[in-house]
């Protein structure tokens, strides 16, 4: 938003999001996220924050509107470009930490292509695992880890994709204060250094303000999420 010369990583124009056209969840007239930016989404639960992320990831079709993500339509996003961390993580619980993180590294476009798991993919994975303090757990099946450790595995998996856009759904819940700082530092360092974009759903408004360049507040002022009227979208510029 501040730099007119750059092309946005995420661009939504007149987009209506939801599962049923008679009951739209969120309407967004214009939203752009530029390289290096962090945007936090807040709003009451059930309003459609998760659905917004899933729509940008190409997992849900929008009801209408124009969406452009990493230079293409969400349904044709290039391999590895989008790192989506679902609220419930979506890890392979019966497989090891390394196996999970290597799934991300497999899609990493900066690494040489390989049919089987390559040494480069393994080393890259080990590096991200180490940066999140999970080196001792490499061979542990994910289901044996604590909730906070599993969250860090999901973040390591996403970072090893080297994505242009990271979307994380309430990814700081279940973490203690010290781990939050570590995770935030890793992920924000990555975003700033690689000129990637970060879109997070964050329940805690003060924390959202703290980490984000921009805040996206989805609020209809009502409890019923199914009311079909335009929701007010406030895009506040912070900092």
């Amino acid at each position: 938003m501040e730099d007119e010369n750059k092309t946005p990583i995420v661009h939504l124009k007149d987009v209506v999001i939801g599962f049923n056209s008679s009951r739209p969840l969120v309407e967004i007239t214009n939203m752009e996220i530029f390289p290096g930016e962090v945007v936090a989404v807040t709003g009451p639960s059930g309003i459609g924050k998760t659905t917004l992320l899933r729509t940008i990831a190409g997992l849900v079709k929008p009801i209408s509107g124009y969406i452009h993500v990493c230079g293409s339509n969400p349904s044709k996003i290039l391999r590895g470009e989008v790192g989506y961390i679902p609220q419930r993580l979506g890890l392979v619980r019966h497989a090891s930490v390394l196996h999970n993180v290597m799934l991300g590294a497999k899609t990493n476009q900066k690494l040489p292509k390989s049919y089987f798991s390559s040494k480069e993919e393994k080393n890259y994975s080990l590096k991200t695992i180490n940066s999140l303090g999970l080196t001792e757990k490499i061979n542990e099946p994910v289901r044996r880890l604590s909730g906070g450790q599993q969250r860090r595995v999901a973040i390591a998996r996403t970072l090893s994709q080297a994505p242009s856009l990271i979307m994380a759904d309430e990814f700081l819940s279940e973490l203690d204060e010290k781990t939050i700082n570590m995770v935030l530092r890793e992920i924000i360092d990555y975003v700033k250094n690689s000129k990637a974009a970060l879109l997070v759903v964050e329940h805690d408004v003060s924390r959202a303000r703290e980490m984000a360049d921009h805040l996206l507040v989805i609020d209809d002022g009502r409890v019923n999420p199914f009311i079909s009227e335009t929701r007010t979208i406030l895009l506040e510029a912070e900092k």
């Binding site: 997992l59 497989a95 196996h99 798991s117 998996r157």
Partner: protein
Amino acid sequence: MSFRDNAVIWFSFIGLLISVFLINNLVDDWGRLSGSWNNLTIFISESLWPPNWSVIEPQAYPVCTVYPLFDFTCSTAWIGIIETLKIAFISTIFGSIISLPLALLAARNLNPRWISFIVRFILAAARSLPSIIWAIFFVILVGFGPISGILAMTIYTVGYLGKLQYESIEGISSIPLEAGKSMGLSRYEISKGIVIPENANDLISQIIFMFEYNVRHGTVIGIVGAGGIGYYINLYLKFLQYDKVIAYLIIIFIVVLIIDFISISARSLFTEEGDSNEDSIFTSFLKLWKETILPQGLLFFSRK
């Protein structure tokens, strides 16, 4: 109390009435039942009992050359049951190698509807006939012997195991699949990296169950000439040597019991709870195998 509360009792009662009507319809001469108890006692005392245990003695030809203590391994019972076990093992392995890719294609959560529909149709066709009918078919096609048995049981295994597999694949959480999809993993990579590891417990225990199932059914396919111990049962049935037949049946009963027991205890290890129990030496060894040796081995081979 309403009809609803007693639905089970009512359904059983109505079912019983219908059955009584149907059986009356099927049987025209009830008098034949009256002599059956006598027939049975005569049959048991004169031709069935005692079992003729000569079936576990070495055959006259070919000459048995093993150490006398192990000469039972030259007997028809041993040769037959080992052949049955081999047929069951080979069919289970071949069948599961073929059924896994088909099950991955049949799962609705991984594929477009039309693909899963076609593959489900193939799997349904493979299990529409019991393995003994497939065995008759292959005996006609390729002749007597274990090859026919293997082909028959492999086909049935594909159909039956494939169904078990795609049903458990469809049961896995959609979230890991979405995560994989949003990363841009291909359908093959999602299958190999997410679906199979997430389902490994189920897949392994289903294969063990299928082996147990195939041992049970493998004992009868020999009757139509498709190999295994059933061959000898058929032979002595023809010669009316029922005391030998009963000896084979007792051996089959014992072997099936043993395989069932092994299968049940092996499968109990491949459950989520199986991981959290306190470990005995046996289970820790199996755990070591399952969580370290096996995955490392698979990883080793997957890296070529």
